[in-house]
Symmetry: C2
Subunit: 267 residues, 2 copies
């Protein structure tokens, strides 16, 4: 049992990913696929006159400011387009994919951060009307019910707050939470780089192996979105997932390659 997260950035090859995934699923492997939708959300926001806004937290993480309108774009992009197009690709390859979001049946419950602290021009300030959250619980009963019925769950990164509100959650950390809850053998975080790079963006500077105990030391190498992947990796490993692989979603056979050790293996 393993959990895969695939980002939506330029260059990621969804067709090749689904070829590989469907072939492995047909062999009886049990998998949960988590996806993103940031780029599609950005495109929608730009086209609909409400462009995305990214903010930086005091601890240096960059994230999307998700006001209510942006949450609606996020629902359309992740719950609608990306989720259903992945399910369609898998169904076309004979794989019985089942798309859902963390909101559905409270698959993922989390805590809303309605007010976030950000750093802007060197000064801290508060932003309100935010619809992001952090995951606190996974409905494993629901997930196991789908897996036992031989579906391949395809999960959009939304969660449900205690009060029933929809939340935008980070896809990498959602995948980590799912892997932890399922006690997965592996968590694969696939994106448009070969793994963690010592000198970003120089792809020849790939870091191949990181012992779990030394992960903190490698954090300075994580740029941009890679920061949350390393954070997700850490959360999954602490919760008992055996290994996390940061792999390349641009190449064909990307899942098989990552499981065979290509990319950055943290164990």
């Amino acid at each position: 049992m393993y959990v895969i997260k695939v980002g939506g950035s330029a260059g990621n090859n969804y067709d090749a990913l689904c070829d590989d995934l469907a072939a492995r699923f047909a062999q009886g492997e049990r998998v949960v696929l988590v996806h993103g939708g940031s780029d599609e959300t950005n495109r929608l926001g730009e086209a609909l006159g409400h462009p995305p806004r990214f903010v930086t937290s005091p601890s240096g993480y960059t994230s999307r400011y998700t006001d209510r309108r942006t949450l609606e774009f996020f629902m359309m992009a992740t719950g609608g387009l990306v989720n259903k197009a992945l399910v369609e690709r898998l169904q076309a390859r004979g794989c019985n994919a089942f798309g859902l979001s963390g909101l559905d049946g409270r698959l993922l419950t989390g805590k809303r951060k309605a007010t976030i602290r950000i750093v802007e021009q060197g000064r801290q300030r508060m932003l309100r009307d935010d619809w992001t959250g952090t995951i606190e619980q996974v409905n494993t009963t629901l997930l196991r019910m789908l897996l036992e019925a031989n579906y391949l769950p395809v999960v959009a990164p939304l969660a449900c707050s205690e009060a029933g509100e929809a939340l935008n959650v980070d896809g990498d950390r959602a995948a980590a939470a799912l892997a932890a809850a399922l006690n997965a053998d592996a968590l694969l975080l696939l994106s448009n780089v070969p793994g963690l790079l010592r000198n970003f963006p120089d792809e020849t500077s790939l870091i191949s192996n990181i012992p779990q105990a030394e992960l903190e030391d490698y954090l300075p190498f994580a740029e941009g979105r890679m920061k949350k992947k390393v954070l997700g990796a850490q959360e999954a490993l602490i919760a008992g997932v055996k290994r996390v692989i940061l792999g390349d979603a641009r190449r064909s056979g990307c899942i098989s390659a990552a499981l065979a050790g290509a990319g950055t293996v943290i164990a």
Copy 2:
């Protein structure tokens, strides 16, 4: 057990619908909710520079021409925004709603009509690259699994072709197929009119009761979208659903009112 379809037209009161639905669900009633998304799809198409196009079949039914780009808007609107916003409303009312589309786990399989025959300026012609379909099968095992686990399924009107393609299907007929497959006691088709009107749009001309055997005689009163509702009603009744109610989604307590006989009851 009953199935409700609610349209997305102006005036429909989703909040009131969810109040009523959550209260009834809490009493132990088992329900499947099907929704539309036409208006949201239109808005997206207009805003993104690919406006909707409606066509008329030789038998007089009006439907959306769904090229691939329109199908993507339809995925965003129905699978994303409308579905997740309904699930959110229900979750906020303590009801464990579970959003999915007919594509997920092949809940609804159908036949794609890649080429459709239309009438334009009095002449018949063919249109290609269409992504609509008609439902042929319902995965009742999946639906019963969700219902037995006490979820309230909220279904977006997409289906899966035999080849695994995503299809835009009519929401009223999807609800009829679900009601038939579940052997439902009732099918409620709720929209922004009180029911079938003898003199559309005069709301005082409501037709209260139609015996099933006479349904054909009432077809001439069905204008626009009401035609597919009457067709769906017919399909459900033939398949054994006990009664179909065409009701008003604008009023509070719309489900309870329809079940109590308000609207047009066909039995």
